[in-house]
Point group: C2
Chain length 406, copies 2
């Protein structure tokens, strides 16, 4: 059994970096605060005797050797970056559970056959630099290194410059072929486990995602003298696109999702018809075909709406991930762990993207979900109980030992 | 006849202050750039022998004495502040036409019976500090001085502090009872004069306005795992309110207007359901009853939409002006001027708010419109021809001489 208090204390310690007034965390990818989080994690891993590798996109790998020099590694991890108004558990729970597994093995002097490795992936959130899961995407070859290095935040800073600024551009080459199995513990970030009073979500896969940047361009004009029928109001278009996206998501239930998270109006004056609106679209689905259909339906809606309102537009994909179905053996190992530990469990689909979904394309992978309060995440009030955190970490220990052998 | 070149040169000189790359002007109310515009205007007026008065809200009055010491003043004017992406003519054309009338009277040594006075009203645009027409509103008692002094811009700066910062809080008391007649030349800011190839718009009045700030509060949550039917998405609400406002305006044609000019999403992350949206609503109509009906319809729509999406809201009025119908004699003087000068003219309703609409409530007032290119205003590409500017100024000269007597 892992040490419940030790894991909780580390979680709370890490949450101090970027702590917000409302009890959350603002520690966005490749900021100096996130650098502090990385430093602390490495310090803790070194204290456990781990060797550290950092790759070209800043992913951090902390390794505890096994007894078999030819064995592949059994890996666990998640991410240390947060949303601008994020919570304490999203990401950190996974990374620190991996560390707690190593601490537990050290404490009880257990030697595993395979090495045990904990990873902290770069820029999982994707809110500062889209897309999400950038570090695991580059690691697995799903995202092109050069293209990702050139991605910019809202201030125009590139990933490349941000990585250098915090001194986390590494030179270690770590290969997906080293991985025997990858497990990622995470809070559910949705309401299902709590609603059904279940402790462990055995994650069978995750929704595919399509993200777009959309710019609508009309004609800036005076809100008073410009007759309604002569307007080219970019905001009228943006409102209709928002509604279309939502309708299309509702048309694809139970798995469809549609969200407009960002919108900027130009010039942004109360008595001026907006000449330009920039907005983001996030859509998701579990079935590859349905996700494609949704993407096409949104593109058609944008075209029709812009035509009708006399608007020009630019619709640029910023992320496009197919749904991921996890490896059967890894999923079974998670279910088996929950079973053996006498924890209530259910199979579940992840609505959020996770690094495990990229890793799963190049190596056996699965995830372990625990409930979070009211299903809320990407919010400062995100909350999870010490009991659930402990339970999830123990399922991880079980699954990793199972895969690593002793 | 006024001097066409002299007026045009002054307009172009003033347009250098806050000139933007696209040929427009950004000289927002009570900024240092607007202070420079005020200084230049005063310098020009002093050069014509005018005496300057500045009142407690920073309105500037430049006076040329008449022959009759008991006569009330005949006034012309408009404003020197601009939109963030405004044009060269909106406001300045009116102020500088008034100055050009004084220059012409001086040039030809004409003595009027009544004094002639040019006024530059403070913060007509209302984009930095709502509401619009703040200076004339305070002058006429339509807006409460103390309340206006406490109004803040997006950075939290008060009108009071901004006024002090540019040293334009005056101590002269100027009374509406001094005014015999007020004329305001302005670009139409709409497409009608150009469409009908008419040089002079004889403005019979202006649309009433209702402005609101609206805050919609839902629940910030993750865009992936949060099912569509469990969301409290503030942006879904904002999109529907935008559509409702537009529909209500379309339902009240030909005079109804509805515009959402500003919208801010919180937290503004692409994979987070917005927990809060702040937006502005601008609605207008020519008939007092219809404007009230529109306001009620929008309030009812906001209530219904928020109810349906589980959102809380705050709907705060920031401006509320009844339609204004101008004084018959003043309107006739404008029409007569256009007629005598052989200029094509038509009666027209102003879609924009103007200081004349407040002045008209306490003294006889009217306005003179000239065409602007493609009817576009509140846009850097705003444009008017020297011929139309000259024509408008000559109608002003005629109307003012008519009212002032020689
Ligand atoms: N788990 C998580 O919050 N991932 C961020 C990427 C996403 O939006 O799904
Ligand atoms: N004339 C003008 O642009 N006024 C600004 C106030 C309004 O929005 O009507």
């Amino acid at each position: 059994r892992t040490d419940s208090d030790r894991l909780w204390e580390s979680l709370m310690e890490l949450a101090k970096l970027g702590a917000t007034a409302k009890g959350g965390v603002n520690r966005q990818a490749l900021t100096d605060l996130e650098r502090q989080g990385r430093d602390l994690f490495i310090q803790w891993c070194r204290a456990e005797g781990c060797t550290i590798r950092i790759d070209n996109i800043g992913n951090i790998f902390a390794r505890r050797e096994g007894s078999d020099p030819d064995a592949k590694t059994v890996m666990a991890g998640s991410h240390l970056d947060s949303q601008p108004t994020g919570g304490k558990y999203d990401g950190c729970f996974g990374v620190l559970s991996g560390l707690e597994v190593i601490r537990t093995l050290n404490q009880y002097n257990i030697t595993t056959q395979s090495p045990i490795e904990v990873v902290a992936w770069t820029n999982e959130e994707g809110c500062r630099f889209p897309p999400c899961m950038m570090g695991s995407g580059v690691f697995t070859g799903e995202l092109a290194f050069d293209a990702m290095m050139a991605r910019t935040d809202a201030e125009g800073v590139t990933v490349s410059d941000a990585l250098d600024a915090i001194h986390y551009r590494g030179s270690d080459s770590v290969s997906p072929s080293e991985i025997k199995a990858y497990f990622e513990p995470h809070i559910e970030q949705g309401p299902i486990l709590e609603d059904t009073d279940t402790t462990i979500g055995v994650v069978i896969g995750g929704l595919g995602q399509k993200w777009f940047d959309l710019t609508l361009t009309g004609l800036e004009a005076h809100a008073g003298p410009t007759p309604m029928n002569l307007r080219r109001d970019a905001m009228m278009g943006a409102a209709e696109v928002t509604q279309a996206l939502n309708r299309i998501a509702f048309d694809h239930q139970p798995h469809g999702r549609g969200t407009v998270g960002c919108m900027t109006l130009h010039p942004g004056s109360r008595n001026v018809i907006p000449g330009q609106v920039k907005m983001t679209l996030d859509m998701r689905h579990w079935e590859p075909e349905a996700l494609i259909t949704m993407g096409q339906a949104v593109a058609a809606a944008v075209e029709e709406i812009c035509q009708r309102h006399g608007l020009a537009y630019e619709l640029t994909p910023t992320a496009d991930f197919a749904p991921e179905y996890f490896n059967k053996e890894c999923v079974d190992a998670v279910r088996d762990g929950a079973e053996k530990l006498g924890l209530s469990h259910m199979d579940i689909i992840s609505g959020a993207g996770h690094d495990a979904m990229f890793v799963g394309r190049v190596a056996p992978a699965a995830m372990i979900f625990i409930p979070c309060k009211d299903g809320i995440s990407h919010n400062e009030i995100e909350s999870a109980t010490p009991e659930h955190v402990h339970a999830g970490c123990n399922v991880l220990l079980h699954a990793m030992l199972n895969a690593a052998g002793t």
